[in-house]
Symmetry: C2
Subunit: 192 residues, 2 copies
């Protein structure tokens, strides 16, 4: 009773964990593919994320807010939790572990920004910008400090913006076209 379980959709079992994801473009391609499949399968919002130890895929996440009835189940949060479960370690930045990269199809919202710091990842690459998310789909991304990239770099986290941005935006657009649910705590409505 005093437990919450958050699941990824079953189609995630098809993700290729044996392939090497060498470049940032390779990593982002997977994150965007996850976001696209989540829209196609109607298993959550148009967001995908993946965590890599160097070029090895460790964990994936997709947005599960609506299917799991849980506002914290963003793609990045799912990926952080899955990766940490994999290692049984709450800190992916542990000195005994390899360096971890988060690839996320869209720039992090206010919550996931904070969570990225606690996660222990050392690199973050993203596709669509927060403005893209707000202008294409209408999600509120929340207030983030203006120098947020500097704040991450100060904490030893490198940020690489707008990798394959067009591809990430195309998925957001497809979600909009399919009139996916837009939720943001204050407003729940099918987007026009």
């Amino acid at each position: 009773m005093n437990m919450v379980s958050l699941s990824l959709p079953s189609w995630v079992q098809g993700v290729n964990f044996s392939k090497k994801y060498v470049s940032d473009f390779d990593k982002m391609t997977l994150a965007i593919e996850l976001s696209q499949k989540n829209v196609a399968h109607k298993t959550g919002g148009p967001f995908g994320a993946a965590i890599f130890a160097e070029d090895i895929l460790v964990a994936v996440g997709v947005n599960r807010v609506v299917p799991e009835s849980c506002s914290i189940a963003h793609a990045e949060m799912m990926a952080f939790a899955m990766a940490q479960k994999h290692y049984k370690n709450f800190d992916l930045g542990d000195s005994e572990l390899p360096t971890h990269t988060l690839a996320t199809s869209s720039q992090m919202c206010a919550m996931c920004f904070g969570a990225s710091i606690w996660s222990g990842v050392r690199r973050i690459i993203y596709g669509a910008t927060a403005r893209d998310v707000e202008s294409i789909v209408g999600f509120d991304e929340g207030p983030i400090v203006s120098g947020w990239q500097d704040e991450l770099e100060k904490r030893g986290i490198e940020v690489v913006p707008e990798i394959a941005r067009d591809g990430a935006c195309a998925v957001l657009q497809s979600y909009r076209d399919a009139a996916g649910i837009v939720y943001n705590g204050r407003r729940v409505s099918a987007d026009k």
Copy 2:
């Protein structure tokens, strides 16, 4: 395999869900009591949170980062997830639900600040300040926009600061005195 489960400690079963928590002080007293019990039972960090529908207790949360090997398992996050599970609704601000208050023993970190917006709570009361947490225990609370209370109020969320702050700080001090683990993604060490 593609699932993460986050649990509260078994002592949480002793929490009184039939009592009415009328005043903000009543609500905060429970949040602080949860933080204190979490320290006493060594079941996580010195943070407690509770969510109320008017004066009815809906869900509680305590920090479970270390025992659950999960950096997102902050007290507030656990409470949001538990309350949303209770209603099978990702939005505690749903017009069909009563107004919800989050009581948290310490001011929210950067992650929980963002999460509070998505949660749907309409009121947030807190005990110790972020500065208290940083100065007493040494946790990094992360970067939050300077006008964060205004940002919440703009989104229809009332903030009531520093309720029973001394009591909340006393628990932080007891955690420090017991040399509890201080983790923050970049640094994992027993605090001196």
